[in-house]
Amino acid sequence: MNLEKIKLDIETAVPGCHVGIILNGSPCAQHSLLLDRDNALEVARFLRDDPELHLDYCSNVSGVDWLDTETSEKVKVMKLVEGVEQETEEVRKTRVPGYLEAVYHLYSMEKKHGPLVIRMRTGNRTDRITLPSLTPVWRSAEFQEREIFDLYGIIFEGHPDLRRILMWDEFEDHPMRKDYVEPNDYEYEPTPHDAVLEKSKQARAIEGQQ
């Protein structure tokens, strides 16, 4: 599938939408399209209904949690040191804010092609965590979007029945997020080691206080 062509097709069919191409450097070279949140539903309808693409089957929806990242690079700068211009090294830090991502794998049963991978990203990881639901377009996304809502906390707008699916309703955390802290119930460990040893020590310390 030629992503460049699909991108152009989308942009002519849905005016005003921004589609990005995310390259995958690994040997599989499965590149994907990044859709903007506002037009994603319309783009999804186009992908499904376009006679040439006809992506009628959504096989898989996954969530990804991207933490805030900080990259530092060394830059050479000319500076005045004691009246003499010298070349010094300076460390510049760039901070990329984190976001949550939903990834959809689309196939066409009729045309026998695919997968086309599309992604959507939230604004950040805390308060702008809304994405449009693609369940109205592909019914098979319903449970998987619920699972992402449960485990990652992405709110899918337009989902017909957005409830937790695996954890209980009273649960407040999102266990698949990278900063999730699990409850420490490691007070009995017959052969603790590494991370479990640390948790076990903590749990025993808490037990000792009670």
Binding site: W168, E170, F171, E172, P175, E182, P183, Y186, Y188, P190
Partner: protein
């Protein structure tokens, strides 16, 4: 009664017994398990009850679909935190005397899922377990072995004295707290009192495999 005298009498065609023996024999020969399975261990449990391994030889073929008619709870499989309250509630609904076999790595400790956020680290955090069987899953022979161990344990119980089983002790509880769904974990995350109760009233010297005491190293 003296064992030698008893043997001598039985050679002469006279059968003697005690009320305790008959009582325990009756109970251990008709232990009816509760029909429920939680994961892949349940497949082994089903195999155990079918013709090839034939749990019926030990009087336990009648799997009851209601906790009110069951004597034995075989916790066969992974107990997720979401499922734990229901398992404890089923246990509470069973009439005394009742027994629990924790079958497989998951039921005794959480098994391969121990470090997951969603799996209970052993059903003995909430209900007293008589026999633990390791294995992932245990073979039907292992379940039969656990069952025979349980029968030996029942046989060794005395009806009176400080050694008497939990259900003959009016002060000992027969129902345990059902955990509730909390914001981050089950509430309470474990029944602390439980581990003391089991070892205070458990009959000793029965050679059970339940001697691997939780809470101790």
């Amino acid at each position: 009664m003296d064992t030698e005298l008893k043997n001598e009498l039985s050679r002469q065609g006279i059968f003697t017994t005690t009320l305790e023996e008959v009582y325990n024999w009756g109970r251990r020969s008709s232990v009816w398990p509760l029909t429920f399975g939680l994961a892949c261990c349940a497949i082994e449990m089903i195999a155990t009850s079918m013709a090839r391994y034939d749990l019926a030889r030990f009087g336990a073929e009648v799997f009851r679909p209601s906790p009110r008619q069951a004597d034995l709870m075989i916790v066969a499989g992974t107990v997720t935190k979401k499922m734990a309250p229901q398992v404890v509630r089923l246990y509470n609904q069973m009439p005394e005397p009742k027994y629990v076999i924790a079958m497989g790595a998951c039921a005794i400790s959480g098994g391969p899922f121990k470090q997951g956020y969603n799996v209970l680290k052993g059903i003995d955090r909430y209900i007293p377990v008589d026999v633990h069987i390791p294995g992932c899953p245990p073979r039907p022979e292992a379940l039969i072995d656990a069952f025979i161990t349980l029968q030996k344990k029942i046989d060794a119980q005395s009806l009176t004295g400080s050694n008497r089983p939990r259900y003959l002790d009016a002060d000992a509880p027969s129902e345990f707290i059902v955990p509730e769904y909390g914001a981050h974990d089950l509430e309470p995350p474990k029944n602390v009192k439980l581990w003391n109760i089991i070892y205070k009233t458990a009959p000793n010297g029965s050679g059970t495999t339940s001697e691997n005491e939780p809470g101790k190293d």
